[in-house]
Amino acid sequence: MTELPTTTERKMGLVIDLDTCVGCHACVISCKGWNTENYGAPLSDQNPYGADPSGTFLNRVHSYEVQPETGPAQLIHFPKSCLHCEDAPCVTVCPTGASYKRVEDGIVLVNESDCIGCGLCAWSCPYGARELDQAEGVMKKCTLCVDRIYNENLPEEDRVPSCVRTCPAGARHFGDFADPDSHVSKLTAERGGMDLMPEMDTKPVNKYLPPRPKDQIDEQIDILAPLLAPVAEEAGGFLGWLDKALDKMPGGSR
């Protein structure tokens, strides 16, 4: 069971647009909210109101500063969750068969009743996508909201992962990467969707769209700037006299 399927019928996954993400963490909260009360064990918190709170999350948003050789630095918000890799090392290391990749849609899941909580799958994941729940002792990870996307009890617009549904900026997209005409495949092709740590050969399904280049700041900072330029460069009249008089006094000027 922990042998990876050679191909999957569909490759469901996410496109995350680093150009659009505003770093509001709404996806983090909606993910925790949905997944703590649905599929599998709840996502526990330890000491949530104490001095040192921590807890299990399936999605976390980092923020990075990129400093190009010239020009201003750019701040990029970076949501990170399971990438549902085609060559998922977390699946093959599992000794019990609890960790598996589905043939029908490529989603990587954990069968919690088989998980012994050894943590080896989390060790093998370069992206930090798996967290061992401290209360349940089993491994938790993004399920791509497998209990939403096929759920006919939900209105059709809600049959997407919770993070995608909630994102106020439209920075997250869900679809089938095996279909070249899908929304996510087209976005990836148009915007140069990239893999994280391609050197790890994990072949992630999820793609990240790089930030678009920033507008260049020309010499002129604003079209109104010429109108705001100081009219008189040299002070005259009483202020001019005061300026000169003060200059003559001992002590110098700045």
């Binding site: 050789e69 019990t96 943590g119 349940e136 089993v138």
Partner: protein
Amino acid sequence: MHPAPSVIVFTTLSGLGFGLLFFLGLGLPDVTGWVAFTFFAIAYALAVGGLMASTFHLGHPERALKAFTQWKSSWLSREGWCAVIALVLMGLYALGVVFLGQRWGLLGLLGSVFSILTVFTTSMIYTQLRTIPRWNMKLTPAMFLSFSLAGGALLAGQVGAALPLLLVAALVQLGYWQMGDRALAHSGTDLGTATGLGTRGSVRAFEPPHTGTNYLLREFVHVVGRKHSDKLRIIAFGLAFVVPGILLLLPFGHLFALIAVLSHLAGVATSRWLFFAQAEHVVGLYYGKR
């Protein structure tokens, strides 16, 4: 990596125990009766004690039997199988040697092979992880195997074999440290490839996802203990190889042999602590740490 006491105790003790079983299976030393019983008791206490310790870090140890199902793909599952096969074969072999005065050579040989295979499978659990460049090296299995054989020879009282094996293990250890220190840089993984933003400029972790800690940071980013790593390397090397080596060169005595074994054990445990504490998991890069 977080140096969990359970895995350090496990890899240190069971490595030594299976190393001793390897020599006992080959009939080194060729003993029977109560002497053989003592040797096997020590070997089983170390090997089984280590295996028991390894279950302490499991979230659900009561499901541990399920770990025998995935031997086709998982090194952890293969380790379980090898350990059980080795312990059963060596148990039968021990019955003959201890109670019947019979040495079933083929059985002992098979037991030896599976004992050393167990150590190899343990090492592969760590070696297979590309996420930890310091472990993802050919020298990792070489280190586990050479340590196990040297320790086994020492425990089995095979002075002739122990001295060259200790020398080999010492050289492997030095090579491992030398290459390990460069492994992360050589892996080509940095915050640039981790975020895919490296082609645009230098990337700096500006804000972590949360103000507190989490499972990932506790498990994979262990920075505290690295401060004294140079001193600990000297201590580990001295205790594991230099002290036992000198004691072996002196005229043989049971006291010296005991001190040599205990010193080696403490040295290997220190080296194993460093093995975990110094290992950098690439997920730390996302947090601007290593």
